[in-house]
């Protein structure tokens, strides 16, 4: 049960990591850029830590799974890291470098390319974990360092993640500005990204037949699949309607809920596997003392953090002066 709680917490953390990433989807024009920069500036560091927390929990609570993942997916993870490094540093360098256009757009370019790359790689990693293509025998990696992730299904998940993040970012940004023009820009981008995300979701679902048979089987076998699908679709529809009616706050809420549902849906389908099909939360869990302590640490940490986070967002997101 404790492990399950972890799972949910990790899902939440993942999602936070996502929010962080997508905020960066960097469209063109200058005003848009400034808006994005202003929106992420104060909070990107904090959001970034979610990702670290996921890693830390993973290796504390499920050490063998962590070892397996980082062995099998060495290559996409290294690429992911490069993306993270470039993205974070380009962002901060841009804010502190010369304000001339050439310099700014140079950093901006690195920033946006890295922001495109990172979610795709994140998705590929997740996709590979679900696919069941990673196979170990004792400690030996049977599936090789490339085959398990260099396949259609993981890439589809990668692009699904990208479109989803882009959608979220655009929806969020509509709330960040009072300028009608800018709002419209992002509104249209949200529609576009939302449509693509829907399309990718369909593709992922179709590919899962062969790409992730174990999960697909679980999905079709369990009673909650359809209610969840319907709920997700409803929320997605609501998000679109709210956007259409320019009720941006509502849209933001729906979009966030939608992504959460998708994530939890995935989490539920994946359950109890960490790496399909060899590592489950049961056979990888650390000894109970370690789990208990980390659970206590997480609870206390959360008690400390949520007020601080709330404060941070209130300070920067409430009034737009």
């Amino acid at each position: 049960m404790i492990s399950l709680t972890f799972y949910v917490l990790m899902g939440g953390a993942d999602y936070g990591g996502g929010v962080w990433d997508l905020l960066a989807w960097g469209p063109r024009k200058k005003a848009q850029r400034e808006l994005i920069a202003k929106a992420i500036g104060p909070i990107w560091e904090a959001n970034h830590v979610w990702l670290i927390l996921v890693i830390v929990i993973l290796f504390t609570a499920f050490p063998p799974a962590f070892a397996a993942i980082s062995t099998a997916l060495h290559i996409p993870l290294v690429l992911l890291l490069i993306g993270i490094v470039l993205r974070g540093s380009a962002f901060i360098f841009r804010s502190y470098d010369k304000k001339t256009d050439a310099v700014q757009s140079g950093w901006g370019l690195i920033f946006s390319i890295a922001s495109l790359m990172t979610p795709v790689l994140l998705g590929i990693t997740v996709g590979a974990l679900s696919s069941g293509a990673i196979q170990f025998k004792d400690d030996l990696l049977l599936s090789g360092f490339v085959n398990s992730w260099f396949a259609l299904f993981p890439f589809a998940v990668g692009f699904f993640a990208l479109t989803l993040f882009a959608f979220l970012a655009a929806v969020y940004l509509t709330v960040e500005t009072k300028d009608i023009e800018l709002q419209n820009d992002f509104r249209w981008r949200a529609f576009l990204a939302g449509a693509f995300a829907g399309l990718m979701a369909l593709i992922v679902y179709l590919l899962s037949e062969n790409g992730a048979p174990v999960i697909r089987h679980d999905l079709s076998a369990s009673w909650w699949t359809w209610p969840l699908q319907i709920a997700t679709a409803t929320v997605a529809l609501y998000a679109m309607i709210a956007l259409w009616q320019r009720r941006f706050r509502l849209a933001r809420f729906c979009a966030a809920l939608q992504v959460t549902l998708i994530l939890w849906g995935w989490g539920n389908a994946q359950f109890p596997y960490l790496v399909v099909a060899d590592f489950t939360i049961y056979n990888s869990a650390a000894p109970p003392v370690a789990l208990r302590l980390i659970f206590i640490a997480l609870t206390l940490g959360a008690l400390l953090l949520f007020p601080s986070f709330y404060y941070l967002y209130r300070v920067f997101k409430s009034h737009k002066s």
Binding site: G41, P42, A290
Partner: protein
């Protein structure tokens, strides 16, 4: 290069890079907060300017620290899956606590950097204090994890696997206290001296503004106090090493033969083939006295251990000499600073003193890099001292040279940009100290 060596080099390079920024992340917030507090007390605008200048620098350094730290937490798994599988459950706890320290640090740094107009003066200062505290806390937690690798506790070994683990006992391992204190002091000393050096440089170029004088005073207050205490804390961990890691101690000192009343060797070049350390200045009984506080104590030499358990002796010994040398000079400069201040009431009248501060600016960071080399290379061939060999923990992934090369280039690129940005900040300050900075 074989894959093990490449993995070790990549780990070492990433850590050596990260630690520079981590040290800044520990010490800069403290100096910022002191400057801001002085501003609130005196309402002297130059303190405010200083706070803002320093916080800009901190923002850049912190961001690079954050991304390079993220790389590290992945690399532990990417390069050493065997290690993480073995010890994740035991030392995951300090890493998780560190995660929370990062959170608070990042949240309040956001408020501190971007919130000048948005929160009250008190809240702003308070955020700064939280940043300084959580920066120190994150260092404490991660160094505890490292100390555990040196003096592992909190589990029982059955068939080569840990059972009955106790993460709390693991955190209370014998090296933890000494190492955390030593690392914190190292960060304050290194950053304090580096910043003092920059301002001394500008003062030497005849910029006698109050701005640089205040900056120098705060930086030397932080750096100097830490540098003064550093050798004492070094002595403290030296004793722990002597007790728990005999091969490391022997390598530190170039001690090949077991000896009663062993001398302290200053300098010298250990030679593993002849098992001797020629060219050293030997202080009779010095080592036995320092390591065990007894001039007649017996110090075990490397000859007691199988050759396969020796760390690379020369590297460890030389790195240790560099660290202690840096520490000694810094302590002397700190004492000099206290004396100058006490006698003349100001630090900026003696050019000779300013030159000394300028020249000792890099010593702290040199000390940090050398000290970590001692700790990490001195632990070889073990990744967990006496329990797991480094070679057993490395990833089976082939072609590790490629990521190593990529990360090295990436880091060189980042380093150049950071130096360039900071240099530009400093130059701007030099030109416009009197002007108001936003």
């Amino acid at each position: 290069m074989d894959d093990l060596l490449t993995a070790r080099s990549q780990m070492a390079m990433s850590l050596a890079f990260h630690i520079l920024f981590a040290a800044a992340g520990i010490a800069m917030p403290l100096m910022m907060v002191i400057a801001e507090w002085r501003w609130l007390r005196t309402r002297d605008e130059s303190y405010l300017t200083l706070t803002k200048k320093w916080s800009k620098g901190t923002a850049i350094l912190f961001a690079v620290g954050a991304v390079s730290g993220t790389v590290l937490s992945f690399e532990l798994g990417l390069l050493w899956p065997g290690f993480m599988k073995w010890s994740g459950a035991i030392i995951g706890l300090p890493f998780s606590l560190e995660g929370f320290a990062f959170f608070t640090e990042a949240i309040f740094l956001g408020i501190y950097l971007y919130g000048w107009e948005r929160v009250s003066v008190r809240m702003h200062l308070f955020s700064g204090v939280i940043v300084a505290l959580s920066g120190a806390a994150s260092a404490v937690f991660v160094v505890i994890a490292n100390a555990w690798m040196n003096t592992p506790t909190g589990f029982q070994l059955v068939n080569g696997q840990p059972v009955n683990i106790d993460p709390i006992a693991a955190m209370m391992n014998p090296a933890a206290f000494g190492q955390t204190v030593h690392m914190l002091l190292a960060a304050y000393a290194a950053v304090g001296f580096a910043v003092a050096g920059i301002h001394a440089f500008l003062l030497l170029r005849n910029n006698h503004s109050g701005f640089h004088r205040h900056a120098l005073e705060i930086a030397l207050l932080v750096g100097g106090s830490a540098a003064f205490l550093q050798p004492f804390s070094g002595d403290l961990i030296g004793q722990v090493v002597a007790q728990y890691q005999p091969t490391k101690l022997a390598a530190l000192e170039g001690q090949f033969k077991t000896e009663k009343g062993a001398p302290l060797r200053i300098g010298g070049l250990p030679n593993e083939a002849t098992q001797s350390t020629p060219y050293a200045l030997e202080i009779p009984y010095g080592l036995s006295l320092l390591a065990f506080h007894d001039p007649q104590a017996t110090v075990k030499g490397l000859e007691e251990f199988p050759r396969a358990q020796w760390p690379p002796v020369a590297i460890v010994h030389i790195a240790f000499q560099i660290m202690v040398g840096a520490g000694t000079v810094m302590m002397l400069v700190a004492i000099w600073a206290a004396w100058v201040k006490w006698r003349t009431g100001t630090l900026i009248n003696s050019r000779r003193f300013l030159w000394a501060v300028l020249l000792s600016a890099p010593l702290g960071f040199i000390g940090i890099e050398a000290g970590w080399t001692v700790t990490e290379v001195g632990r070889q061939p073990w990744i967990i001292y006496g329990v797991v060999k480094t070679a057993a923990a490395v990833t089976p992934m082939p072609e590790l040279q490629i990521p190593f090369l990529v990360f090295t280039l990436l880091y060189i690129f980042l380093a150049i940009i950071v130096v360039w940005l900071i240099a530009r900040q400093v130059k701007e300050t030099d030109k416009g100290t009197a002007e108001k900075v936003v």
